[in-house]
């Protein structure tokens, strides 16, 4: 059984006159352990789709199944990581990480324990009592990552997590993300990454789904057979980036 399955998912937003269809008839499934990238031009609804998988945005029609069961409301086995980091500026690093746990009703002792485990995993030891304002973008996103990981989700949903960062910071965090996901003791087995950066998708994902716009629909669904660790200079890497690029170009 697939871990996650989307069946004919559509989304429309109501406008003063009529409605806007942003996603139409999206169907795909995600296997256990898969790193999936959703790519497409801006406005193709990929971020909306990610939020519907999490459950914070309701579907207009269709179904999202998790382990064969329909998800109503928020899927507590998933956690989101945002482009904007979405940190509370008045809370310390540690308190920001614990906040996600508190919201899920986890007691203070367990919160402490988990916060310290994931602070360690993302390299934030030493920053526990810093405030977001004191941190660089890269450190802020490490907090966002630790906050998501601390709830020990099966699926981590990442919405353009590296797009607000400069190139050197993004290189570092992509490598760190792969290390976290590939660690034998990782609790996160699945990642769904929304990105408009094609090289990022090809570097990280096992599988890439290309969405077209107006309304968003699945244009292509491809498994990337490039061995890891991936070499950005390799021919296979270039072939795949060119292929994904041409698919996006054609449809937008």
């Amino acid at each position: 059984m697939a871990l996650l399955e989307l069946r004919n998912v559509s989304k429309s937003f109501a406008l003063p006159r009529g409605s806007l269809r942003v996603l139409e008839d999206i169907s795909f499934s995600v296997e256990e352990g898969e790193f999936l990238a959703l790519v497409g031009p801006s406005g193709c609804g990929k971020s909306t789709l990610l939020r519907m998988i999490n459950g914070i945005i309701p579907l207009t029609s269709g179904q999202v199944l998790y382990r064969g069961k329909q998800v109503d409301g928020i899927n507590l086995e998933s956690a989101l990581v945002f482009q904007s980091f979405a940190l509370m500026p008045w809370l310390t690093v540690k308190a920001n990480i614990e906040m996600g746990l508190e919201a899920r009703g986890i007691g203070s002792e367990e919160r402490e324990k988990r916060a310290s485990i994931y602070i360690d995993k993302v390299g934030l030891d030493g920053f526990e009592e810093a405030y977001p304002r004191e941190l660089s973008g890269g450190m802020k996103q490490r907090v966002g990552l630790a906050r998501a990981l601390a709830v020990e989700p099966r699926v981590m949903l990442m919405d353009e997590p590296f797009s607000a960062l400069d190139a050197l910071t993004a290189i570092t965090l992509r490598e760190e993300l792969l290390d976290i996901w590939q660690a034998p003791d990782a609790s996160v087995k699945n990642i769904i990454l929304v990105t408009h950066i094609i090289e990022e998708a090809v570097e990280l994902a096992d599988r890439v789904i290309v969405l077209g716009s107006g309304p968003g629909r699945v244009v292509a669904d491809m498994k990337l057979d490039i061995p890891r660790p991936r070499d950005r200079r390799s021919e296979a890497f270039n072939t795949w980036t060119d292929k994904v690029f041409s698919l996006i170009e054609e449809r937008s």
């Binding site: 995993k121 030493g126 810093a130 660089s136 890269g138 050197l168 490598e175």
Partner: protein
């Protein structure tokens, strides 16, 4: 290194230094600095700071405008996050500016100083560097290496426990 000349550290995030190492590894261990800046759309001046920071930490060398991954840089890349922190910590302890503050903090009863006092020391040691900026870098690098901590609420710059 008592008595060593105190030199400033570049105003640069450590994450940039780590990104530079990853990039060098991808490119076979050596690349032209100007080309890196162009490829990453980094201002050359900013990339120079990153190169300088990586060189101060002993992770790269910079012969004739190139950046070359050194043995310690390779060790860094091969390590997990805690091994990486330890390596940076050992390198910082050898840096005159960091070792100055380690000694200074050791001399305090509660192993801590207020930010204002730290700024005064910085202004005295490195009169041509903006102390506020130097303080941020000292705190950020120090936090990563778990050498120094800073608690804004209590205004305490302190020695992290060994």
């Amino acid at each position: 290194m008592p008595g060593a000349t105190i030199t400033p550290i570049p105003d640069c995030q450590l994450t940039w230094v780590f990104g530079l190492l990853e990039l060098l590894e991808d490119r076979g261990g050596r690349e032209d600095g100007y080309k890196i800046a162009r490829d990453l759309q980094f201002k050359f001046g900013d990339l120079l700071k990153v190169m300088k920071a990586a060189e101060i930490l002993g992770l790269v060398s910079t012969p004739a405008g190139d950046v070359v991954l050194e043995e310690l840089g390779k060790q860094f890349l091969a390590g997990d996050v805690n091994q990486r922190k330890l390596l940076i910590r050992e390198q910082l302890k050898k840096h005159p500016l960091f070792s100055y503050f380690v000694r200074l903090l050791h001399g305090q009863e509660d192993r801590s100083l207020s930010k204002e006092v730290v700024l005064e020391h910085l202004a005295m040691l490195l009169p041509s560097e903006p102390p506020q900026r130097m303080f941020s870098t000292l705190v950020n690098w120090g936090r990563f290496a778990e050498l120094f901590g800073y608690n804004k609420d209590e205004d305490r710059f302190y020695l992290d426990q060994e």
